[in-house]
Amino acid sequence: MLELKDVYAEVEGEGIEILKGVSLTINKGEIHAIMGPNGSGKSTLAKVVSGHPEYEVTQGDILFNGESILELDPDERAHAGIFLAFQYPVEVPGVTNTTLLRESYNTIAASRGREELDPLEFDDYIREKLDLVEMNPDFLERSVNTGFSGGEKKRNEIFQMAVLQPSLALLDETDSGLDIDALRVVSEGINKLHTSEDAVILITHYQRLLNYIVPDFVHVMRDGRIVKTGGKELALELEEKGYDWLDSQTTVNGEVK
């Protein structure tokens, strides 16, 4: 579904290289966790895949369903089925959640050959999705993320994901800032949404999220590269030994060098 081929990326116009040759293959039905210390390039990876204009891919390629997406704008990538749950969801005062979601749903539906929904049908549709993240219906008529607590913003991201039904979801530190109850709700939501037809990439610092969402693969990033790949037990090992433990290991993109 998603294939990164030796991707190098830098901050547009500043020449600061952040991704230094990332290769990664994700098939449908899989859940991948990407872990690593601050500044290792995890969030950049998510932004590069979703097309953030701040980053430029200088080398390599990103294929989605077999086709390069490097030339696609972020909205075109969303139409293709890519979704990014933001680490810091943006407040958009004046635009209600319902307005944003109906606009998004219908543009994405149109480009993916799904039926568009009129306001009444849409209302029914989103209300059932609300339950999934245990969100109060009042949130629908509030301005997007405006005045939301950190936890509410994260829930709202997962709610948007539930409504938009992407085939690839990138969740950028969705667990940070959540208390234990919210973490459970959000994780259960993600688990319920996940099917054999879609894929999830979890970007996280901590192993605790992986107690709720069990990944098929765990990748560890350091300094713009994937330095180790393993199964879910790798996360536990990292939790126990810390990232420094990896300094004694030398593997790049999962291959022993």
């Binding site: 972020p74 909205d75 606009e103």
Partner: protein, 440 residues
């Protein structure tokens, strides 16, 4: 440049110096204003209050009296009537009252409104007309006085509640030569009365004209006034307005000014506190493009203790347009416990647009809460990306964000049709701008 040279330079001074109105009515006000004008210079950019404002749209135009302008007849006036004001509508064309277009049914006990000329002998008019004006060294309010011939009058007796908003609709037609209109609005709200006014200036064509509206508003003890001022003059017009309000004990005055039209506009709203426990608002929304210049110089004068005031002035600039804001907040020595909020936020959509902003607080009391701020910025790329990642095109995302930026200032306009109209105007502006692709 000497004072006399300055005065000679202004065609308007000559225009105002000639007695054009044959009526006896208000001859004294006209004479008094002419006399003051002869001692008042036309402004120029060396004066601090005018340093950012390009007045050439005024100085380079040969304005003539309306009678000599060859104004075209009005058509399509009803398009601008708001349904809430059927029965409470005063219509002016090129500054002159139009009885056949107006609609003046009963509006509740003690609510008097109509053509100012018809109330010439009304004691309230006698007491207040031209007496509430207080603009120092200001030629524009003097022009209005020197050319005074028509206006709207609203008087609410004690405890009177206007059952519907009063629409004061000014329509301006195209004409063979550019003319000057000098409409006047006098509002006196007695104790515990309640009124909503929708003042609307509409250019029906795209010619040059100049309108110099003056409004004098007296809000007596416990009275409430909600004043919506909508400026959609023609794209070549000049609009210079002088709205002043005096607020007495326990009264409220809330003004919302929406500036969309005119080649050059200069709006100088003032609110003067006359007693304790008042609450007033001077909010503004400016959406400009092309070569438009929109200038707001406001004064909020806190003279007594326990006042609350609010000014949110939002501006969107595109093309080569130029916005100027100077918001003066005075808090006098005895005006303790004042809570005053001022914020000027500017959104620049083009590289060529220009914004000058100058919040100006002069506080002489020591126990007050005054917050103020001014920002000039572009759309936040992070917000644009967020919406794009949810499937919106870049243009749509920018349109939505511009709309959202502007919306905050019109939320408090409670008249349903006007609120809807404003949303349509904001939408039209943002859509026109996303098509231009000039955006940053």
């Amino acid at each position: 440049m000497t004072l006399n040279k300055q005065i000679e330079l202004s065609v308007l001074h000559n225009l105002a110096a000639a007695e054009t109105a044959p009526e006896e009515r208000w001859a004294d006000i006209r004479k008094e204003s002419r006399s003051a004008l002869s001692q008042t210079a036309f402004p120029h950019r060396k004066i601090e209050e005018w340093r950012f404002t390009d007045l050439r749209p005024i100085t380079r135009t040969e304005f003539v009296p309306l009678e000599n302008a060859g104004a075209f007849p009005v058509s399509g006036a009803e398009t601008y009537f708001i349904p809430e004001s059927e029965g409470s509508r005063l219509v002016f064309v090129n500054g002159r009252y139009q009885e056949e277009l107006s609609s003046t049914g009963p509006l509740g006990k003690g609510v008097i409104f109509g053509n100012l000329a018809e109330y010439e002998d009304n004691p309230v008019v006698q007491e207040y007309l031209n007496k509430l004006l207080n603009y120092e060294e200001d030629v524009f309010s003097l022009y209005n006085g020197a050319l005074l011939n028509d206006g709207a009058f609203i008087h609410l007796e004690k405890n009177a509640k206007a059952e519907a908003p009063i629409q004061v609709l000014h329509l301006y037609t195209d004409s063979a030569k550019p003319f000057v209109a000098t409409p006047r609005l006098l509002v006196v709200a007695e104790e515990e009365s309640d009124l909503t006014i929708v003042e609307d200036h509409v250019g029906l064509g795209n010619n040059v004209y100049m309108t110099l509206p003056v409004s004098e508003v007296k809000v007596k003890e416990g009275a409430h006034i909600h004043h919506v001022r909508l400026q959609r003059d023609s794209e070549e017009a000049v609009h210079v307005s002088r709205p002043i309000a005096y607020v007495e004990k326990n009264s409220e005055y809330h003004a919302y000014t929406i500036t969309l039209g005119a080649r050059l506009s200069r709006n100088e709203p003032r609110v003067v506190q006359e007693d304790e426990e008042v609450d007033f608002t001077l909010d503004g929304l400016v959406l400009i493009d092309g070569n438009q210049i929109a200038d707001t110089h406001s004064v909020m004068d806190h003279r007594f203790a326990h006042g609350q005031s609010h000014q949110l002035h939002k501006v969107v600039v595109n093309g080569n347009a130029h916005s100027i804001f100077n918001g003066k907040i005075f808090v006098r020595k005895d005006a303790q416990k004042i809570d005053s909020f001022q914020e000027n936020r500017n959104l620049l959509l083009s590289y060529e647009g220009l914004v000058n902003t100058k919040p100006q607080l002069e506080i002489f009391a020591d126990d007050v809460l005054c917050s103020h701020g001014a920002t000039i910025g572009q759309l936040d790329p992070e917000e644009v990306f967020y919406l794009q990642s949810r499937g919106m095109t870049e243009e749509k995302a920018k349109e939505v964000l511009t709309y959202a930026f502007a919306l905050e200032t019109i939320e408090n306009v409670k008249i349903e049709s006007v609120h809807k109209l404003l949303i349509e105007e904001v939408n039209r502006y943002t859509r026109a701008n996303s098509i231009q692709k000039e955006t940053v």
